[in-house]
Symmetry: C2
Subunit: 342 residues, 2 copies
Amino acid sequence: MTGDATGRYAGVRAAVVGTGLIGGSVLLRLADAGLDVAGWDPDPATRERARAAGLVTPDTIEQAVAGRDVVFLGGPLPTLPRTLARVAAATAPGCVLTDVGSTKVDVAEAADRLGLTDRFVPGHPMAGAESAGLTAASTTLLAGAAWVLCPAPAAATHAFRWLTGLLVELFGARVVPMSAPAHDSAAALASHVPHLLAGALAGAVQRAPVRDAVLALAAGSFRDGTRVAGTPAERTANMLLGNRARVLDELAEVSAFLGELAAALRAGDAAALTARYAEAAAARSALLDPRYAGRDREFRTDGDHAAEVSWLRGLGEEGGHLTGCQVDATTVSYTAWCPLAD
Amino acid sequence: MTGDATGRYAGVRAAVVGTGLIGGSVLLRLADAGLDVAGWDPDPATRERARAAGLVTPDTIEQAVAGRDVVFLGGPLPTLPRTLARVAAATAPGCVLTDVGSTKVDVAEAADRLGLTDRFVPGHPMAGAESAGLTAASTTLLAGAAWVLCPAPAAATHAFRWLTGLLVELFGARVVPMSAPAHDSAAALASHVPHLLAGALAGAVQRAPVRDAVLALAAGSFRDGTRVAGTPAERTANMLLGNRARVLDELAEVSAFLGELAAALRAGDAAALTARYAEAAAARSALLDPRYAGRDREFRTDGDHAAEVSWLRGLGEEGGHLTGCQVDATTVSYTAWCPLAD
């Protein structure tokens, strides 16, 4: 990444709780940017490792988050609601809270129950690796990532604006604003179903009598198609269970398309098979060659937060993202990009 | 790659017919190694492009292959039997023929019908790219690739030995010896079913109302899992149709595993889901961290070809490969590697 925090983010005091692959990468980058940042992990060995790397790592979660302006929450998905409650209790009301978990509805509902919607902004940086833990984390893992944030009206809008600016400045993030349910629907197809397919392919090969011959021939398609089958099994299970209904719905859509491909193959229908693959290739082209139009927008800082949030969520649901958020006394200015139609 | 052909392969006269991505990469590497090599493609524009790149490219297929010691056949799978017949008619009986197609039973049967089993060695270098055509070809695409060759008894054993040595020397290939049916079974899981899964995922997203939001969030798992959905649709269709029964059989196995994952997810059974992913991860570990024991073997050149071929096929079916084949007046010496049990 490119350097130190400047302007409104210089001097920010941050903390990261749960310093695995993603949380650890947030921690490393914030430290790299010269912020005063503390990390904490429930695993004493991970805390020792962080200390050995020169990172500030108090013994208790309360020491790590006290007096901070922003706290990032990582760690296993099922632990996030409890961690959120602990961190909220140990921080001031003005401290912005966000998480880096891969599903958003459950944690957003937990924040609602805890009365934290004014300062908790659900988040999900879209990055990962086959590996896990602080030892796999890096200052650059999240550089330039799509980073979902879920804006909500009222006070949470302030937290959203401030956090958006910070992620753009320090991570070069493309901030994708979405409601939590819209995120979980899109993530089902963008990430969770791909994990199911990878698991099924790798699992079937593991059971196949010809396993070793298959592995001997494995080139790009098998290596790529099974990569995320090697991620820690429990993490993957938590992710899928945290978005169960939507994942099963989207899996049904993917299975239906797979059924069409298999039917065309069984029938020896080259034209139908080619047509389905041309359809699939269109998604691939849109992915590889995205084209955007600018859609900058200003709102009054004291204006209608509901209209601002509605515009933001609409942008993300259209596949758009933010690369800037400037706030002055009267105006919030978003630098925004939206995909052009094919 | 590392340099010129030496020893027994210096001075070899080669040809490549069908100079797309794979054939073109063979051609470029052979030229790079200093061999006298000619290319030919049915597409005049491709021939022009090859000439512009300084490659020898006669106007007719007969001119390209006449007087050659070895001819590599590329091009669309359904055209291979006809191309094989044309090339056989235009070359001497001592000219070794091989192909680079992604299925092997059909072309092996065609060679049988044509009476060419003595000098045709079915082949399949396990490499590919999303792109197609000579412009995407490179001298290094096939470097170090697993390269299936299908040995057969009698005179074909001589061709197999000679070609194995050439591929090891000029491409750094790991030559995987298999029967054509064993190749097609293993390739169904190693390559063809992965193409179906990638097509289904990309196709379902293309049809999804939330397509643009999905693409905005797409990170590693979606990019990797759909990569081969972007390969030319007709090439993929030909590959699947060329191995139809085996692909459908193996797809049923993968679908069964997918069904187990979905059932565990539907039931909210974290333990079952984690156990299935642990099973899948074992295949991934075996893929990423292969460990081999040496299994060198010698045969008399005038000995029992059937025993030699049987040993070779057994090696490949166990996931093994060859990295050397030396032949002197009395002895053929294979340098061979076989995976250790987990």
